[in-house]
Amino acid sequence: MPRLIEVRNLRFHYEDGTPALRGVDFHLEAGESVALLGANGSGKTTFVMHLNGLLSGEGSVEVCGLPLQKANLPAIRRKIGMVFQDSESQLFMPTVLEDVAFGPLNLGMTRQDAASAARAALETVSMAAAIHRAPYHLSAGEKKRVAIAGILAMNPEILVLDEPTTFLDPPGQRALAELLARLPQAKVLVTHDAALARSLCTRAVFFQDGLIAAEGPVEEIVNRFGWDFASEPSQSAR
């Protein structure tokens, strides 16, 4: 069985020549959840943007055995559901139901099937009561749930979540962590939140200057790089 994600020697430069990724190797196994840790600007978000072809660098990316090429993009975007950091940008339709049905309709589902898939996804994230509400009337936590529903409605195999707890208060963060723990998909979690990484992930990789500096069990990586509010980096990480 092929790995869900296999990335080899991925390199990427921004238009102004700034190197963002300098040879990243990464893999994700079925059922696995991996945390991507690292400082702001270390390349985490740029890296995940490559997983579904939103950015395109040098090297090779395979998703569920499919090489990342233009012809495979629709199939790959069906397999990888990406939840963006700012839900405001992800919720662009006039109502919650229409927003969640946006992906299923793009996949060619009939209106009826798309509406059913959207309702089921909203049920999963406990937002079924909000189907006719306008996205801008929702709280930050509700927006995040609806953004996740928009991805779940497309029935992806992998969830990529970019800083999912940003803008959420502690109860919202807790509720989101519980929701994510219930979802069966493999996950790639970009986060600064060590507690969230510990609760959801079995493995962590640490990005530094566009490279993966280390990987291993979450606790080990968090301690080694001092990636927790209360801890200092160990001597080996300095």
Binding site: T95, N106, L107
Partner: protein, 238 residues
């Protein structure tokens, strides 16, 4: 904000809210033509049309005072045009410009405040409005709120650093406008990425399917006849 209020009004459940938007567009068109081509007994006709629109708004359970106030947004422009006519020695034309523009705005507001945006856009698409323009309108409507909120944050940030509208006010405003533009551009790029991540093929599919029913035809017949009959009756009396 006006569009948030209109959004709330448009989600009502009156018989007028349930009519197919195409029947409302056609009725609006007839109303505007009957109004625009009227010349005799204009003050009386305007009063009758005002009553007709007020009755329609009350039937649709749209707050009358709020609607009358919002339609008055056109007055600063048309009063100016009216003043020019008046000073040019044509008071009848001045009165005509002001009355007709106000009633036209109120009629458009009646349609907009009784038709949820997705149905309004879908209806416009079905009567041949360019799809691209409708897409722009949809995004503008959705993100007006977000952009205005960003502008508000920038204003607060400036005020908390002691900015006051004295010397250099225009320069600061121009700078703020440039930043707002750059942020809007970045937001647009992010929305586009979020759309691509959900398999957007370049063409919008929507959930709403419209069906023109007998009740819509009956409404259209009534709504088209009413202004024409009122005008004929008043012109005969005059």
């Amino acid at each position: 904000m006006h569009h948030v209020v209109l959004e709330r009004w448009s989600r009502g459940a009156s018989p007028l809210h349930r009519r197919d938007p195409r029947s409302k567009f056609a009725a609006l068109l007839v109303f505007l033509v009957v109004l625009a081509t009227a010349h005799r007994a204009l003050p009386l006709l305007a009063a009758a049309f005002l009553l007709l629109l007020a009755a329609t708004l009350l039937w649709a359970r749209v707050p009358l005072a709020g609607a009358l106030r919002r339609a008055a947004l056109v007055l600063p422009f048309t009063l100016l045009a009216g003043a020019v006519c008046w000073l040019g020695g044509d008071p009848a034309r001045a009165l005509s410009v002001v009355l007709k523009s106000y009633l036209s705005a109120l009629a458009v507001l009646t349609v907009v405040s009784t038709t949820p945006l997705p149905l309004l856009l879908r209806g416009l698409e079905l009567v041949g409005a360019p799809r691209f323009l409708l897409m722009v309108a949809q995004f503008l409507y959705r993100y007006l709120f977000v952009i205005s909120e960003e502008a508000q944050h920038m204003r607060s940030a400036a005020a908390s650093r002691g900015f006051a509208r004295r010397s250099g006010g225009f320069r600061a405003a121009a700078g703020a406008l440039a930043v707002l533009f750059a942020r809007s551009y970045a937001r647009a790029a992010e929305i586009h990425r979020a759309m691509l991540a959900r398999a957007f093929p370049g063409r919008f599919h929507t959930l709403g399917a419209l069906r023109f029913r007998a009740a819509d035809a009956a409404f259209l017949a009534l709504a088209a006849l009413a202004p024409a009959l009122i005008r004929a009756a008043i012109e005969r009396l005059a």
